[in-house]
């Protein structure tokens, strides 16, 4: 009450003056830049190789998969939901893609068909999530948790529990190791995805609607926003992007893996939230989600280099997620 009245009398500037320097800095940039600097300093000192050009390049390539899923995750986070099924969606996508490409000769047609099948799988999963969440107004938590189980089970059934090996070399050669004018194909695809989502979020009605639906669905409805359609499209878009990540990841590991992407749901949520995307919906930037993902991969790489076990790394990821959520509360208030 008091703050509002002050804000009014000063035309809204009083608040900015009154909050502390730390809060202002956090509000402005979030916690990510601070963590980023710490990361560079700590691992740079512990292991000089960490900042070498070769390592940075490796991290750059490794990041793209999490970057894409974090972007997907961000889209649904904006609507105030989240998607726990991104991991098993990647697994199922991987099996489908690998099966299709394995049955082809590995020529351009086969690779295209496999990619489309993979993306289609992701899209279908997203569309089912979106339909149930939008039509029946059910909690995204339960729906996507159920979908996690469904897609995971489907991946195991299709593959019989064993990886799909013997993929034609052209597949990985194009989608994982290929370059166009010296630029790795995964980078190009990721850049295109980021550009597309940027335009969608910042320059279209749909993007505005996503923020509004997440910020206050009642207000959106009153303003004539097709709330259900937006929710459906958000989950479907997340499915498309996850499918793309699944195809690229399959090319990178070189086989169809029924257990691929198990850690992705947590990591993608952590990445987005670290990047300042609010868990309550309505707030967050694409750049934040992308940098959050790069940060997590960078951190994992650093920990690998100084031989911190993957078990410890799991603990660290979990702790970071909690830190990010607390920071989110702290920055954006109650």
């Amino acid at each position: 009450m008091r703050e509002q009245s002050l804000a009014e009398r000063l035309g809204g500037q009083a608040l900015d003056v009154r909050v502390g320097l730390l809060t202002r800095m956090l509000t402005l940039v979030g916690i990510l830049p601070i963590l980023m600097i710490l990361l560079v300093i700590v691992f740079g000192l512990l292991q000089p190789r960490f900042l070498a050009g070769q390592n940075l390049y490796t991290v750059g390539i490794q990041s793209v998969y999490l970057v894409i899923v974090a972007v997907a995750q961000m889209v649904v986070l904006l609507t105030g939901g989240f998607d726990l099924s991104v991991g098993s969606s990647i697994a199922l996508t991987s099996i489908v893609t690998a099966s299709v490409v394995a049955s082809s000769s590995g020529d351009a047609g086969g690779i295209t068909a496999a990619s489309l099948a993979g993306i289609g799988t992701g899209t279908l999963i997203g569309a089912v999530n979106g339909t149930v969440i939008a039509l029946f107004s059910v909690s995204p938590f339960i729906v996507t948790l159920a979908m996690l189980s469904i897609a995971s089970g489907a991946a195991l059934i299709l593959s019989g529990g064993v990886p799909v090996f013997n993929l034609p070399s052209g597949f990985a050669g194009t989608l994982a190791k290929g370059t166009v004018a010296g630029v790795p194909v995964p980078w190009i695809i990721t850049a295109l995805i980021i550009l597309l989502v940027y335009v969608l979020l910042s320059w279209t009605r749909f993007g505005r609607y996503l923020y509004a639906v997440g910020g206050n669905p009642d207000a959106a409805h009153l303003s004539g926003v097709p709330v259900r359609r937006c929710l459906f499209l958000a989950y479907t878009l997340a499915g498309v992007l996850t499918g793309m990540a699944g195809v690229l990841l399959t090319a990178r590991v070189g086989s169809g893996e029924p257990n691929l992407g198990a850690t992705v749901p947590l990591e993608s949520i952590a990445a987005a939230v670290l990047g300042g995307v609010s868990l309550r919906g309505g707030e967050g930037t694409l750049l934040g989600a992308v940098l959050g993902a790069v940060f997590l991969v960078f951190l994992r790489n650093g920990m690998d280099l100084v031989r911190i076990s993957s078990y410890v790394q799991m603990v660290v990821t979990g702790v970071l997620l909690i830190v990010a959520i607390v920071a989110d509360r702290y920055i954006h208030g109650r």
């Binding site: 009450m1 008091r2 703050e3 509002q4 009245s5 002050l6 804000a7 009014e8 009398r9 000063l10 035309g11 809204g12 500037q13 009083a14 608040l15 003056v17 009154r18 335009v199 320059w203 279209t204 009605r205 505005r208 609607y209 923020y211 509004a212 910020g215 206050n216 009642d218 207000a219 959106a220 409805h221 009153l222 303003s223 004539g224 926003v225 097709p226 609010s278 309550r280 309505g282 707030e283 954006h332």
Partner: protein, 509 residues
């Protein structure tokens, strides 16, 4: 009252000053509170009411000024210390735990126990006493979440009376009460007053002062303007003190409506909450809809915007009739109807987004070319509206969250100017905003009508029902009591109809 004057004041402050960076929230305020009085403090948002309350409650330390309790100077060290001194605040935002029972809440933090075991019998007995004192007929074991807002408020007051309270501060107490509940609260104030408690009554609503207060103090811009016995002022003078503006400026005469009927409503019903209601709304007309809480006036507004699936009847817009239950917000928006809900924060605004995004949310298509938004044009349009509605913001990219209630309200209303809206349905457009912002909202509504738009003004503010509307439809428990216009539109008639006394002849549009 003459006896009260001879007594020394229970609480006195001298030269109270509180500065926040960039603003003087309290500027040398002198003020005294006598035992056994209900002392109202009124003023616009930013006048210093809340700061004064928070200083007395121990939440803020004043920068300068002295505070005397029964003639002895005291320094309030914090909220707990304030309550030890006998000063208790009942805030608007209630401090009850919904899951706990009434008794558990009443004794929360000061449970009666012996050897570590709760003495439930004693607590129950005292709870019943306190509840009956405040006139709350409640099951003390009922969980607070099952209580209505009014009952919760009474529990809050009961909680205050359980401690040794000498100064009771009520902050906007009637915000969530119906008229009947408010009347009961006023009686409670008088009871407490007779027992020697001093009540500091902070409010926006001027009409209730006259029912409850013995004296009134007006603050403006952190300064003490005047303190007067309530018998010596009327509403118009209070408004003048608070705003520095004359009543005529606030409610100038209206222009006459135009002949064309814009909206024709026939036999509109909403479940059991609104019975067959019919009226015509002309171009350039402001139709007031009055009634108490539960009268169905909000249901009427929601139904007209297609938000009530149970609605039935016919609504014809510009002569094209449709079934009331087929109305749909998206189509109505396209046809030029817009609805402004009473709870702007919950229903209308996306608080975490910017002023600009909130203003244009309902009209984004207008700023679209080839599927992309033209943000420059959007910004220009929003800037124009910010100026026109006198929305005080540092920029259009700040979040709506940080704005005052009045400015938030204007952001919501600005939506109606971004697209072609010809029927405005406004439910409580001035609820919880200060007088200055009210004046701006009144001007906004008057201007709309003058330009030929039609306005349905749903309101529980008698002043705006009387002075801002061409005609007034009054509802009582879902029953349309008739439409008042011209000479019939008097305060007495309006209030009588609020309580269900039907007019001799039911006016039909």
């Amino acid at each position: 009252m003459s006896t009260a004057v001879s007594q020394p004041p229970l609480l006195r402050v001298e030269g109270l000053t509180k500065r926040f960076p960039g603003v003087l929230a309290l500027d040398g305020v002198d003020f005294e509170l006598r035992a056994g009085e209900v002392h109202a403090v009124v003023g616009e948002n930013g006048a210093g009411k809340s700061t004064l309350v928070k200083v007395l409650a121990g939440s803020f330390r004043p920068d300068r000024g002295r505070l005397f309790l029964e003639g002895r100077e005291v320094v309030i060290r914090g909220p707990h210390h304030a309550s030890v001194l006998g000063i208790r605040v009942v805030f608007q935002e209630l401090s009850l735990v919904p899951q706990l029972s009434v008794v558990e809440n009443l004794f929360l933090g000061r449970e009666v126990a012996r050897s570590g075991l709760l003495r439930k019998g004693i607590m129950l007995r005292r709870a019943v006493e306190a509840l009956s004192l405040v006139g709350a007929a409640l099951d003390p074991h009922a969980p607070v979440r099952e209580l209505r807002p009014a009952q919760r408020y009474l529990v809050e007051i009961a909680k205050a009376t359980l401690a040794d309270v000498r100064v009771l501060i009520l902050d906007e107490p009637t915000a969530s009460l119906t008229a009947e509940e408010a009347t009961r609260l006023f009686e409670l104030c008088r009871t407490l007053q007779q027992s020697g408690v001093a009540i500091l009554y902070v409010t926006h609503r001027l009409e209730e002062l006259f029912a409850v207060a013995t004296r009134v103090t007006v603050l403006r811009d952190g300064r003490h303007i005047v303190t007067l016995p309530i018998a010596d002022v009327d509403q118009r003078r209070l408004i003048t003190y608070m705003t520095g503006r004359e009543f005529r400026e606030i409610f100038p005469p209206l222009e006459a409506p135009r002949p064309a009927v814009r909206l024709r409503v026939r036999d509109l019903t909403v479940g059991g909450r609104l019975q067959a209601t019919s009226f015509d709304l002309r171009a350039g007309e402001i139709l007031g809809v009055g009634g108490l809480i539960g009268s169905g006036k909000s249901d009427l507004g929601r139904a007209l915007f297609g938000l009530e699936p149970e609605a039935a009847g016919t609504v014809a817009l510009d002569g094209a009739p449709s079934d009331a239950h087929r109305l749909d917000p998206r189509r109505l928006l396209r046809q030029g109807v817009m609805y402004f809900p009473p709870d702007r924060r919950k229903e209308a605004l996306v608080l975490c987004r910017s002023v600009a995004e909130n203003v244009t949310l309902a009209a984004l298509a207008r700023f679209e070319r080839l599927g992309l938004l033209r943000k420059k044009e959007e910004r220009r349009a929003v800037h124009g509206l910010v100026g026109r509605l006198r929305i005080r913001v540092p920029g259009t990219s700040v979040r709506v969250q940080v704005l005052s209630g009045g400015n938030q309200q204007k952001v919501m209303l600005a939506r109606g100017l971004v697209r072609d809206v010809r029927v405005f349905i406004c439910d409580e457009p001035t609820q919880g905003i200060d007088v200055g912002a009210k004046v701006d909202v009144y001007r906004f509504i008057r201007d709309l009508a003058a330009q030929g738009a039609s306005v349905i003004l749903i309101s529980s503010d008698t002043a705006e029902i009387l002075h801002l509307c061409h005609r007034v439809l009054i509802l009582y428990r879902g029953i349309p009591m008739g439409i008042l216009a011209g000479e019939e539109l008097t305060e007495e008639n309006v209030v009588r109809n609020y309580f269900g006394a039907r007019l001799a002849e039911v006016a039909h549009a």
